[in-house]
Each structure stands twice: as C-alpha cells, then as structure tokens.
Symmetry: C2
Subunit: 369 residues, 2 copies
C-alpha cells in the first residue's frame, strides 16, 4: 500500500476533503461572528479532526471548541485552551477523565441532574480543582436538559452550593429547529427556544448567581440564534464540511467533502454498483447525493455497496470513480480513520480523524486484556 | 482508564458479548451442517473479529471463511487456510493486495466483469501465481452479478481462457430473500434463487469447465439453501451474534451481544436518555430493542443519545446501565474497536475488532503523509 499522491491514487472508499472549500466555509462562518458580541464555538463532533479544528480556531471569532464525548475533549485539550463538553457525564470513570482534562485546559461541562453535578464535583475535588458547568436546558428538543425557569434556577443554586464545580452559565441546544426547511418557521422556532434560554439566564442572575455563558445554536440557526441579544456563543459544527441534509436549508456553505468510490460492477445499462456502501457513510438522513454525474441517483446503500440508477448513455465503466455527498456528516466521518485532503487533483495531506470512536476501547486493546 | 474486570466497570457505550450465547449459536449452526454434503463458510463481515472466527472454525462444519473487503481478507489470511472474498475487486492497488493474500492462503474472489477478471489476473501473473475465482450471479438481488445462464457461462469461459485466474465455480447471494418474514415465502424465493445458481453451475459443467464451488445463502436461508442439492457452501454470518431484524425470522439463534449504555439524563418520569447513540449502533434496520427493561422502548437515536420511553414507575436512575439490542449487527460492530466479552458478570476477555474500517487508511496514517 503506497501513499496516494493524486486523487486517482486514493484507495476507495475514502473521505476526500477539498481544502479550499473547507477554508471558504470556515472563513464565511468566522466573518459572520466578527461584527457582533456573540462568539463561535465550533462543534468538534462533526469532524473529530484536529487539523480542521486548528483552522477553525486560526480563522478567528472563536471562543473555544465544543465536544460531545470525553474522547473528543481529551483530543481537543491538546491544542485548545477553552473546551465545552456540551453533554452530560455522570460516571466516575469518565468524571475522572474530565478532571484530568481540566488540569490541562479550561473545561466546562453540561449538567442536568443533581447526580451529574455530584459526580463531576467529586472527581474535581479528588483532583484538587474545580470544573466549570453549564445548566443544560430542554428548549424544545425533548432529549436531555432541565425545564427552563424555576427548575433550572434551582439546579444552578445547587451547583453554586457544591464545592468542586463552578457555575458558568446555561446551555440550550435547539436541535429540533436545525432541520426546519422554511426559513421563517425556523426563525420563529429558534427565537422561541433561545428566548427560554435567555430568560432562564436572567432568572439565574436575579437569584444572585453568575451566568456569563449562554450557549446554543447550530449550523441551521447560527445566523438567527447568533443575533439574539444575550446569547454569548454558538455551537455550530456541520458548516465546515456540509451534507445534503443541511444543504436543503440554502445556507452559504459548500460541500467540502465527498465519499469517493469506485465502480466495481456494471450489471445493466442503467445500473452500476460502487464500493462505498453503508459502512462508509450513513443513511440516517437519507441516501447520499451524487456529486458529479448528472441524472444519476443512489437507489440503495448496503454494507459495502452503493447502487446507482444511471441516465441513458452514461459513461460509467468498471473502475470509474464516483463521488457521493453524504446525507449526514457526523456519523459518516466517524466511520473513517483519515481525510485525504486534496487541492485540485493533488493529495496534499492526510488528516487523522483522531477522535473517532472511543479512546477507552483502544486503551483496553493496548492493555492486552 | 483501567481495564474492566466486571460488567459494571465497562465504560459505555460498549459492545458486550456473552461468550456462552455466542458458543451456543456457533454450535447450533455447525451441527446443522454436520449431517449433509453442504458446508458452512461463515461470513467474517458480520463481526470482523478473529477471536470469533477462530471459534467458528474450531466448531467444525466449516470449509473456510467468507469476507467482504480486502482488509477483512488480509486479517483472515493470518489464521484461515481457505478464504472467499465474496465481492468484486477491480482496481490495481487492491488486486495487488489480493495477490499478496494468495501467497499466504487459498484465496477465491468473486468476479462479474471482464475488467475485473483481467485486473485480478494481471496482479496474479505479476506475483507469479493464480487466483481462484467464482462467477458472481445476480439471483434476484439486483445488485452485482452476471445474469444466470448463457452470460454466466460466457464469463466462465473467459476466466478459463485467462492466465492468472482459475475458475472454481459460481456464487449467488439471495440477499433479497434474507429478510422475508414468512417462512413459506422465504423458502419459495430461496429455492427459486438457488435453482438459478445450481442450473448455471450445471451449464458451466456442460460447457466442459470446472465448477466445484456453488456458494450462496445467509442466516435467513441457511437451512433452506443449505439443503438444496448442488449448493456446496453457505455464507451465513449474522447467526453468531444476531440482531433484532434477524430475530423476526424465528431462527434458533440467540442475541449474543448488546450495546451497553448508561443513563445520563432523566428529564421526566417517562423518559430517560442513554449514552449509546447512533455513533455506537446504526438504525438502518430500525431503532434498537431494549434488552432488560420491560415496557421500555427506544423512541429516538441521535449521534450520542438513545432516548427511551419508560413505563410508569420504572426504576431507572442516573447511572443505571441499559442494554440495547442492535437492529443490524454488521455496521454496528464496525463502529467499535473491541468486544468486551463476559461470562455472567465477569469480563473475561477483550477481543479486537481487527478488521474494522480500512487498513489502507491506517497505513496512510502510519506513513505520515
């Protein structure tokens, strides 16, 4: 296995990243946040790739990075001085890892239960430090989170009274609003969700507590939630790479990556089979799009095969490279170990997807149990 | 991060494998094939785990293993002396890897195009050897494969006339039949598909060519296709671990693995959120089942969260372990690096999922491009 120097040498299936398109996406998002008081905290979970995150931080407008897992936060702590783990962590093993991260960087973690607060506080005290927390609010997604208002204030008071944790603010991810296609409806729903978040922040302050951080937003709402007074940071992630699902929203971001495949079977005039199946890209947001073959569409995605319907006369032979556009960035990236980074036809770098999977599983392998 | 010694110490999300249940599944399948002329060729793609494959081979009735990717075949070649790559391989880089595998073990590869035959033959000749091939037939799945009958015989003749490849037989995977719920309908469709396969094998022999291997079948049809005269081997894989999709068929195999998660949020009386989301198990065959909590069901599966609806009074607290049963084994296993193997409450081993992902991507990382 030799190292690919050009796009035609990349072994398939593979994630191929257009560095120029990536940089344009990063710059467009950074520029939006240059003229306001709200800052950007790019979500690392979308790409899990330090080389991409470093470019996001270098472009400016960023207050730090957002993570979804302890593994991600461990990777990010090596190069980022302000890390938000926007997710609940409740077990002793993972809270101990949080404390280790907090010794290296400024760490803030979401909480929505007394048990979570106590678990983080205990690990922090054992390590002789304090970990910052945000009260996670359910602003309509109906997943995790405390009910906005009195319950959230009570949780904030509990945090303030617990040694080992420091109250930094509130968080509310309007995940249910991100995919709303109609711009006016999306705006109305985001305003409602962020209204609950900002109002709860005010209630926390009225209770005499600190609430410097008011965190929310995503790629679908960055320019709505990011302009609501009182919101201090936006957790968008998908904008850097984009997928077909977010492309439906008409956002000013380009597809910066594709899954590259090779035609391995050409059974009929109107069908070909490509070697980039469901183990190389997910279909939880629908079948992938076809990048560069007008009239073709994906009709099936099995473990190792994407089946395409072809237009009459399509010049598709065995060995032809076909690029597909994933419907959902985050879980697709998680299936690969590297991005092959291209400029035009040249492969200019190979970026490790360093936070793929679970560090503790790799550690268990290393321990040789 | 310490090595878990008991189930309660396993960091979540994680694949937890019940070794006794696995061994029962393996023995049940092996015993079915002990009293016939058809043999079993377990499909490695379902688990990608050498420790499981070795147990399958040790149980007997196996003629070798089946793989879906070159990476899998490379891993398997280290311990198996008869490997079928039941998939089309057409590029020079991967054909060179096939030739390297063929220097270590008996390798057979599926072909369905002249280009594929020529690519494999060229790599084999360059390595000074011959690679065995099966003509891949489309027996109704409408994915890869030559049309049964004359077209397949013509392809077999082409193989026979090409130095570097050796015709070993025919293959036809009745993938479209595997999920058919009704046993009578499944039987009728499998008989029809295997009928095309066996008839084509006979036509190949009538043309004066060798056709020792007639390969097909899967977990849903092993006891139908495996009893059709002329079928020489069955490529079943999912039976070893099982998932909720195959469980619908009423097969004599148990769920041998779960995705273990931890309750990280308990926002309402009827809802909890568990840390084993879509990055730890796929939903292409539906939402996962709940293993051990009567009345509970999964209502949503986001990247890092499984949301469960709970029955009244459920004893589910923050930190409670919840086991989910994946709807689709193969792509779920591919998301993890290890199986935590348990006997009762004890973790007795940690088995590497050695063929997860793509070896060429890990090689590119190692090359430091």
């Amino acid at each position: 296995m030799t190292t690919p120097r050009s796009r035609t040498e990349i072994p398939t299936p593979a994630l191929v990243l257009d560095r120029a398109a990536l940089d344009r996406n990063i710059e467009r998002m950074a520029s939006f946040f240059r003229d306001g008081t709200c800052r950007l905290r790019p979500h690392f979970k979308a790409h899990k790739t330090p080389d991409i995150a470093r470019r996001q931080l270098a472009a400016g407008s960023c207050i730090g990075l957002t993570c979804a897992t302890v593994t991600e936060a461990e990777v990010v702590a090596a190069f980022c001085d302000d890390v938000l783990l926007a997710n609940e962590v409740v077990t002793a093993d993972k809270c101990a890892r949080l404390a280790a991260i907090a010794q290296r960087t400024r760490l803030t973690v979401a909480v929505d239960s007394p048990e979570g607060v106590d678990a983080i506080a205990a690990a922090a005290r054992a390590a002789g430090l304090s970990i910052g927390v945000l009260i996670d609010l359910d602003v309509g997604q109906r997943r995790c989170g405390v009910t906005p208002g009195d319950a959230a204030v009570a949780m904030a008071q509990r945090v303030a009274a617990t040694p080992g944790v420091s109250l930094r603010g509130v968080m509310g991810y309007e995940g249910h609003v991100q995919p709303v296609r109609d711009r006016a409806a999306r705006t109305a729903q985001a305003v409602e969700a962020m209204g609950q978040l900002v109002a709860t922040a005010a209630a926390v302050r009225r209770a005499g507590l600190s609430c410097e951080v008011v965190s929310g937003g995503g790629t679908g709402t960055y320019d709505i939630s990011g302009r609501i007074p009182g919101v201090t940071e936006i957790q968008a992630g998908s904008y850097a790479l984009m997928d077909t699902d977010y492309a439906e929203l008409g956002l000013p971001f380009e597809h910066a990556f594709v899954v590259l495949g090779t035609v391995v079977s050409r059974p009929t005039a109107d069908r070909c089979v490509v070697d980039c199946g469901h183990k190389s890209q997910t279909k939880d947001h629908g079948l992938p799009g076809v990048w560069d073959l007008p009239g073709a569409r994906v009709t099936g995605l099995n473990d190792e095969h994407a089946t395409l319907s072809l237009p009459p006369g399509a010049a598709v032979a065995i060995g032809t490279r076909i690029a597909l556009v994933p419907s959902h960035t985050d879980p697709t990236v998680n299936l690969h170990d590297v991005f092959y980074v291209v400029e035009g036809e040249a492969v200019v770098a190979c970026w490790p997807i360093a936070a793929r999977g679970y560090a503790e599983q790799r550690a268990a392998l290393g321990a040789g149990l």
